[in-house]
């Protein structure tokens, strides 16, 4: 068998950011075909899970799921179910109903009125991909859907016979195949200075930071990263959290939990065999965690 000699890298605007797909394999034409399929998967996630598109599943349930059961795309239902599981496991720190607060703070467009003060427990997922709300809550999958899109794109590439590659949706990425990839982390304050690099193989990495996203609201500084239990913003000292896990959806969602819980997130990280790295304002690592794993290489810190 010939080795994967060609590399194709393409990018499209999607999910509110730039989605970049790198694929390695024999035939360039085949790689382009596979990348087209992967972008189709990303586009489906964007179409169904966007808070902004009026025709998306998320807009539909935000408008109607309080009054009646709404049937959604099986992918949307799966992401909602995963979000519910993480809300349960984090005791409500991860909560997709924080959309209400994000809307108040203008991180999301103010498209809904009369939103009640509910939480994730007011979302009921029923069989045949139906959803209903017990309260007039609104949801946003911004903290998890990007990771899911990356996972679906990787699956599409693998199904199309791509040997190895990377899918990177605005910083949430997944590396697959035998080749390892070096991923640079943005410095929390100077975005174009790397604060370090991580070697990944068959693994996803997601980073949540408050670098571009902080806003001043009266005397308080707010960001889109908040604790679902209190609707308050997490510690201002930690400014960037990276989580590595086997799938990107989990890594994406875990960053939000680690932002709040820090060291207390160890049991949850261990359950998902995930690793975490917290960076301070000056780019220095504040805290690192590695899941115990028998099959892994020893981890090196420099």
């Amino acid at each position: 068998m010939r080795s994967a000699s060609n590399r194709v890298r393409r990018a499209r605007p999607s999910l509110g950011t730039f989605v970049e797909i790198t694929a390695r394999g024999d035939s360039e034409a085949k790689l382009h075909g596979a990348i087209d399929h992967a972008f189709d998967a990303v586009a489906r996630v964007d179409r169904q899970m966007s808070f902004h598109h009026p025709a998306s599943d998320i807009s539909k349930i935000n408008r109607e799921a309080f009054q009646r059961k709404v049937t959604v795309d099986p992918w949307t239902w799966r992401v909602l179910r995963a979000a519910q599981k993480l809300s349960h496991e984090s005791d409500g720190i991860f909560d997709i109903t924080v959309a209400r607060k994000l809307m108040q703070w203008n991180y999301l467009p103010r498209r809904y009125r009369n939103v009640s003060e509910g939480n994730w427990r007011d979302i009921v997922l029923e069989k045949n991909c139906t959803v209903r709300f017990r309260q007039r809550v609104i949801v946003d999958l911004g903290g998890i859907a990007k990771g899911f899109a990356v996972d679906r794109a990787v699956k599409a590439l693998k199904c199309a016979g791509v040997a190895s590659g990377v899918v990177n949706a605005g910083g949430d990425l997944r590396v697959f195949g035998l080749k390892s990839e070096l991923v640079h982390l943005r410095h929390p304050v100077e975005p174009m200075r790397p604060a370090g690099a991580i070697k990944l193989r068959e693994r996803a990495l997601a980073t949540s930071g408050i670098y571009f996203a902080q806003k001043r609201r009266g005397r308080a500084v707010v960001s889109s990263l908040l604790d679902g239990r209190t609707c308050r913003c997490s510690s201002r000292k930690v400014i960037s959290v990276s989580v590595a896990a086997s799938d990107c959806m989990i890594a994406d969602a875990l960053t939000k939990i680690v932002f709040v819980l820090r060291e207390k997130s160890i049991p949850l990280l261990a359950r998902y065999h995930a690793d975490a790295l917290l960076l301070e304002r000056d780019g220095a690592p504040l805290w690192k965690f590695h899941s115990p794993c028998d099959t892994c290489d020893p981890t090196r810190f420099d």
Partner: protein, 179 residues
């Protein structure tokens, strides 16, 4: 099987080389044309130079400022039959300069958007009009791949809002100049 990542953190952050910009060339114009219209055998350039009236009309229709004096447009043809339009455009954000291509159907609906070149910069040169001017209306080029060692970046999400706005401007350009 999962694999633990190696966090390779420099011992002293202060000695790391600052990166003024990150650049990537994804596709050449001709490669993007073939991807957007694989069935087509001819791409006939119909580049337009805007009249002041057209600029006004595009700005009114799109709600966007039209900074370009013209637009690079190709008619995608198969055996002489029009299959759509291939349009190259540029957007400049706070930290970004992007060349991208939009494929339109003959009726003016968006078929595909591909990023051709992507440059991210925090070094201040992006605010320099002379530096920016070199990107306007000259077609994609590759000499800006400054940092070949950096292939993947993880960090806070950069918005693609400027491209979305650019596509609205392209649709207005279609209405004004191509319909």
């Amino acid at each position: 099987m999962t694999q633990i990542p190696r966090w390779i953190l420099p011992a002293a952050i202060t000695v790391t080389v600052p990166l003024p910009s990150y650049a990537e060339q994804y596709l050449t114009v001709s490669a993007a044309q073939k991807l957007c219209f694989p069935e087509c055998d001819q791409f006939a350039p119909v580049h337009v130079k805007f009249t002041p009236a057209q600029i006004k009309a595009i700005e009114a229709k799109s709600g966007q400022k039209q900074l370009l004096r013209g637009q690079e447009i190709w008619r995608a043809m198969q055996n002489g039959k029009l299959h759509g339009f291939f349009i190259v455009d540029y957007v400049i954000g706070k930290h970004l300069v992007i060349d991208y291509a939009v494929a339109l159907s003959p009726e003016g609906t968006v078929k595909q958007i591909e990023i051709l070149n992507y440059r991210e910069s925090y070094g201040g040169e992006i605010r320099n009009p002379d530096w920016r001017k070199q990107f306007i209306g000259k077609g994609p080029r590759s000499r800006f791949a400054l940092n070949e060692g950096i292939n993947n970046i993880s960090g806070a999400t950069l918005s693609c809002r400027h491209v979305t706005e650019g596509v609205h401007r392209i649709l207005a350009t279609y209405e004004v100049c191509l319909k």
